[in-house]
Amino acid sequence: MRNYIIKRVLGAIPLLICISFLCFVFINLIPSDPAEVALRVSQVPVITEEIIAETRAAMGLDKPYLVRYLDWVINCLHLDFGISYTNPDRTVGGELLRCLPATLVLAGASLVLVIFLSLPIGFFCAVYKDSWFDRITRGFIFMTTAMPAYWVGLLLMWLVSIKFDLLPTSGNGSWKHLILPAFTVSLTYISTYIRLIRNNMLENMKEDYVLYANVRGLPQKSILVKHILKNSLHTCIVAVGMSIPQLIAGTIVVENVFAWPGLGTLCITSIFNRDYPVIQTYVLLIGVLFVVFNLLFDIIQTIADPRLKNEVS
């Protein structure tokens, strides 16, 4: 078991290196000269060739590629990601840190909503397969996968906030502000998870041990909950876990619609402002999160599922 874990962790390291290298390359591919951009942004009135050359040397842009890459990686490990191009008195790390809590809150709330809605609905869909409940739910799932998240958000905003004046429209003052954005984000993922749980449970229902349990005369409810649901939960928890980074990244559009001040809004603003250090660090952050979460939940799944555990050791 330990060997497996160590192997997986070691396997993830080249991936991380690759991701960091891609991010580093990214900022050096931008069309404008970073030294010139830095000068312009700090409002230096007259920019001459000498000043640009000086700045390039000061920023270390004349050193070989590999050296710059290593410098950058070391800086990143010290959590020093540079300075924002648009607001030179703010650091990139500071900006990301400022916006991170809001996104985490939104992603967290959406996750909770997804779990609490998809579990029971998926469960009942499987249990009452092909009933009117199942059919309506499947139709609903179908519709929601075709609806762009931002459109749903706009419609909800208009209906709930404007027409019926039930909830605030934007910003993140109180928990009331969280309801609509979280609901919109979760709608995009609910369909996947309802389907996942339903299919998982249906598959498990066909397994032999269910047949044996039925033959033994165990009550239906007990079979459903204690056996089938528990087994289905395993795969679902892993699926949910692996999609947490996806959730964090996926709030971008909803944040834009509801003016939620999180990482997504920062990312979009940075793209429009050509604030490359922020974009680069954001991509790096999400990439690393992805690898880490995948690794973590892969290991958790192997430990938790006795079948996989046996396979591995």
Partner: protein, 529 residues
């Protein structure tokens, strides 16, 4: 339990929960709004940023609230702020100010001529940053002979001197103890000023709270607390106002005309419009290979339907503009022949210039297409609509216009470096017009310098502007202004579109919402509920 009833119960529970939360929400909102009497919730599209009074990296309305200068500019002239009175020497080169006694900074420090001298020294240290102010180039010395007197000496007489001293920045006074070793160009230790308000708390990109300054020397404002929320999106701001989350939207480009129209007859909200403040204009980059030809520039002038823009986009709130500066701006009441909207004339001019219509409708010359890009500020709610309108209008005469919106910072950067074909120029308006705007054309402050580089008479115009600023003779000054404005008009470098005005949309029980001489100032001190 019966399976079906179980489900039904669950659904009912979920529904009632949602309704209850909704009801709870709205009642809380109404309770909060009736309690407000002395605090105002304002809104801005971006954060207050850096409120160093001697730099330009912060929001002007906030700098106006925190700091005072020597004088204030009013409709009738100048009134004293930190300076009680002043005299100007006969040769116009020496300004002596009598400093108001007993003025204190918000931290209790005394604001006397010595404090003001320290401020001026800090500003002068960063001289290169303030080249748009002609007086910086004419400054000989500043001194404080005693605690109540402050003297400024210039090398030549400069008639807009007091105006430049009275604008929001950079001549705003900060407590010397807040400076970093007597200097402010690398930052300040705190935003300590003599103004009516103090910045008490803020969260970047979320909100900022200003409270009334207990040590304020002037009339204490009735609004004691101002919370400024950051809402970048136009629709969201309007929604927030509707729901009572904010009380006032104020600004030239913070509300679109559709909203103003919608609330014109509303009982809950009032609309206020100011006198025309400045000119909404597009400047053409004469450095561009296509635009260097003045036939092309004139064609674009004739192809712009200002009346339609004024009526269609602004519902007539902003009147069409035919000249760079309105006739009501000092020295600008001269006769210039407007470029009337005439598509046929535009077409002919382009034909004369050698641009012929190709099969796809765009004009071509020597294999090059008549394609231009128009840069606009995406934070402005109306510039996008105007750009889209122009895109389709210019297509009718065979000009392929590509529009690009950028946020404030990149937009300004690109303007300064001349990285555009056409751009919505920033018009300072009163009281900067016309002297500061013209003065700024001589250096890369905004888009004017870069755009005018391709003009054959650029040098002449620049020299004339310099002469204007140092002229002492009224008649001569007027003649020079006429010369410069006529040249710029004939060169067709600027396409004036409408005369902008400042707009305010606010809840009906807020009184005293007016406009000052500066379009960037929000007169909070006059407001009350």
């Amino acid at each position: 339990m019966n399976k079906k009833s179980f489900i039904a119960l669950g659904l009912m529970a979920a529904m009632s929960l949602t309704i209850l939360t909704g009801c709870g929400g709205s009642s809380n909102d109404s309770k909060a709004s009736t309690a407000k009497k002395e605090d105002l919730v304002f809104v801005n599209y971006r954060d207050i940023r850096n409120l160093n009074p001697h730099l330009y990296a912060g929001e002007m309305y906030a700098q106006e609230m925190l700091y005072d200068g020597l004088v204030n500019i009013t409709a009738d002239g100048y009134e004293g702020a930190l300076a009680e009175s002043w005299t100007i020497s006969d040769d116009g080169k020496v300004y002596t100010f009598k400093i108001r006694k007993g003025v204190k900074f918000s931290n209790g420090e005394i604001c006397d001529a010595n404090a003001i001298l320290a401020n001026f020294n800090a500003i002068i240290e960063n001289k290169a940053r303030h080249t748009w102010l002609e007086m910086m180039n004419l400054l000989v010395s500043v001194s404080a002979p005693d605690a109540d007197t402050f003297v400024i000496e210039l090398s030549k007489p400069y008639y807009p001197m007091l105006t430049e001293l009275g604008v929001t920045r950079p001549f705003a006074m900060i407590a010397p103890s807040a400076m970093k070793n007597g200097s402010t160009k690398d930052g300040v230790n705190g935003y300590i000023g003599t103004g009516a308000y103090v910045l008490s708390k803020f969260e970047t990109d979320k909100y900022a709270i200003f409270e009334a300054n207990p040590n304020y020397w002037g009339k204490k404002p009735e609004i004691k607390t101002i919370t400024v929320k950051v809402i970048p999106d136009n629709q969201t701001r309007i929604l927030a106002l509707e729901k009572g989350e904010i009380d006032l939207i104020f600004g030239k480009n913070m509300i679109d005309a559709d909203a103003v129209n919608k609330y014109a007859d509303n009982k809950k909200f009032k609309v206020a419009l100011s006198e025309p403040t400045s000119t909404r204009q597009i400047v053409l980059n004469t450095n561009n290979g296509i635009l260097v030809d003045d036939n092309v520039r004139k064609a674009l002038q004739h192809a712009t339907n200002k009346e339609a823009i004024s009526q269609g986009i602004f519902y007539g709130i902003e009147k069409p503009a035919d000249t760079l500066f309105a006739k009501t701006v000092p020295y600008c009441n001269i006769d210039l022949k407007p470029y009337n909207f005439d598509v046929a004339v535009a077409g002919n001019l382009l034909d004369t210039a050698g641009w012929t219509k190709a099969a796809d409708g765009t004009r071509e010359k020597n294999g090059q297409k008549l394609a231009l890009n128009l840069l606009y500020n995406s934070d402005s709610v109306t510039e996008k609509s105007i750009s889209e309108y122009l895109q389709s209008e210019y297509a009718k005469i065979g000009v392929n216009l590509k529009i690009e919106g950028q946020e404030e910072q990149s937009y300004r950067d690109n303007m300064k470096t001349g990285n555009f074909d056409m751009v919505f120029n920033i018009c300072w308006g009163m009281p900067y017009d016309p002297q500061s705007s013209l003065s700024a054309m001589r250096a890369p402050v905004y888009g004017d310098y870069a755009a005018q580089l391709g003009l054959h008479d650029k040098k002449e115009i620049d020299e004339a502007i310099t002469s204007i600023l140092t002229s002492t003779n009224e008649e001569e000054r007027q003649k020079l202004y006429a010369f410069v404005l006529t040249r710029l008009h004939d060169d067709a470098v600027y396409i004036p579109i409408t005369y902008e005005c400042n707009k305010a949309l606010y809840r009906a029980d807020l009184q005293g919402v007016g406009f000052t001489q500066s379009q960037y100032e929000v007169p909070f001190t006059d407001m009350h509920f």
